[in-house]
């Protein structure tokens, strides 16, 4: 059974990431909300809206999400703040993705927040625990959220892998030509409207064997993801491989999957309770 501390530390890592992520983007979220209403294409839970919300309302929800995020991070009144934060983050990022472009960098963060917000992830390392509001830590109920997070993470990569082989190229995707083409198109777009393609993309363009190797590696990480869950050590190996893949994507395409690049997306795979923070938390509880 996983101890409450492990789950709580995952909450702290994910909550800390989301707080930094949202706080940095609060002005951008406001500006996006003022975009031409004709470009509004609601997705997910935002589909309940027929037209965009007034900008001040969006701004209020951004600050409400930030406030709930702080409570979630601190583990303060988690029974209310946990679900509230998860729901608000789901709404906030769905709304942000309702303007003609879905950023696939946000999916896992929302799914992880939902799991942590709806589970007893603040029974340790929290204000609730310090105030004696958290229930006795029997161990029951602390393992499944971790296992669910790991399953959700690996399945998201598996779904991405299926999309590649189910696409127009089928199994030919592994030839590397498609991957090279995608990188080239992305680089061209960045040259025309962004801050330029990654220099590595130019350096590697003619090395077809390398694209083939990267395509094969991608398929192992994505299609093979659920298989790695069978064993805890294999799962950690997979998490390290996926983490490395995102850093490679950053180097070659300058695409920042910030949640993955920070390592927070893979926190549920790590035995955080064995680290210094976990030892301190356990020590505090014992005293």
């Amino acid at each position: 059974m996983s101890p409450a501390v492990r789950l709580a530390l995952v909450r702290v890592v994910v909550g800390g990431f989301s707080l930094a992520y949202l706080a940095k983007r609060r002005k951008m979220l406001r500006r996006v909300a003022g975009t031409d209403p004709r470009l509004f294409s609601p997705v997910g839970v935002v589909k309940v809206l027929e037209r965009p919300l007034p900008v001040p309302v969006v701004e209020a929800t951004v600050y409400a999400t930030l406030a709930a995020n702080v409570a979630f991070l601190l583990g303060w009144r988690h029974r209310c703040s946990g679900p509230a934060f998860a729901g608000l983050l789901l709404w906030q990022l769905s709304y942000r993705n309702s303007w003609s472009m879905i950023y696939h960098t946000d999916n896992l963060l929302v799914l992880h927040a939902l799991i942590l917000g709806l589970s007893p992830s603040a029974d340790a390392v929290s204000v609730d625990a310090l105030r004696g509001r958290a229930p006795a830590q029997s161990g029951v109920g602390y393992g499944w959220p971790i296992e669910l997070m790991n399953a959700v993470t690996t399945l998201s990569y598996f779904v991405a892998g299926i999309a590649k082989v189910a696409g127009p190229l089928g199994g030919q995707w592994i030839s590397g030509e498609s991957l090279r083409g995608q990188v080239a198109v992305d680089g061209l777009r960045k040259e025309l409207m962004g801050d330029g393609a990654a220099p590595v993309a130019y350096a590697l363009y003619d090395k077809v064997w390398l694209w083939r190797a990267m395509a094969a590696g991608t398929m192992v990480v994505e299609l093979g993801a659920p298989v790695f869950l069978a064993d805890r050590r294999l799962a950690r190996l997979w998490a390290a491989a996926a983490f490395t893949m995102h850093w490679a994507v950053l180097a070659i395409m300058k695409i920042k999957f910030r949640y993955q690049l920070s390592g927070a997306a893979f926190a549920s795979f790590a035995a955080l309770q064995r680290g210094p923070a976990g030892s301190r938390a356990v020590g505090c509880r014992r005293r």
Binding site: D36, G44, H104, S156, V159, G194
Partner: protein, 135 residues
């Protein structure tokens, strides 16, 4: 989590959030790529590419898609007007006297070998930068 997989076999797939079928990196890329972008011209006709931020807030791909959507819907002039107003209000674009919305086709292999010119290019909209528009 697995429910979005069905989108892979739909004629008109639809992505969603946070449950996605992750369609990125799946399209079949042809040798030539058509893109719509923004250009500024100075008084001598010299051109420079304008960043996506001139057309609206948000990330690069979001604004790029919004431009494509607007231009595709026949609103290239409106995009151009918004870009001209943005440029007029920024000192770093003081040399720009005209903005254009262009659609060009690029040969990817040639582009990544150093031949950066488009194989064809079409002006979708053009507009002078009126400095009175400075905010």
């Amino acid at each position: 989590m697995l429910q979005p997989l069905v989108q892979n076999w739909r004629e008109q797939p639809s992505d969603s959030f946070p449950f996605s079928y992750y369609p990125m990196f799946t399209a079949q890329r042809t040798k030539g790529k058509r893109e719509t972008y923004l250009v500024g011209l100075d008084a001598h006709g010299a051109r420079r590419l304008l960043p996506y931020g001139c057309a609206g807030p948000g990330g690069h791909n979001q604004v790029r898609r919004q431009i494509n959507r607007s231009v595709g819907a026949g609103r290239a002039d409106a995009v151009c007007a918004a870009v001209a107003a943005h440029v007029a209000g920024r000192t770093r674009f003081d040399d720009i006297v005209t903005v254009q919305v262009l659609t060009g086709t690029y040969d990817l292999a040639a582009y990544f070998s150093g031949a950066r010119e488009p194989t064809s290019e079409r002006v979708r909209a053009s507009r002078p930068v009126l400095r009175e528009e400075r905010r």
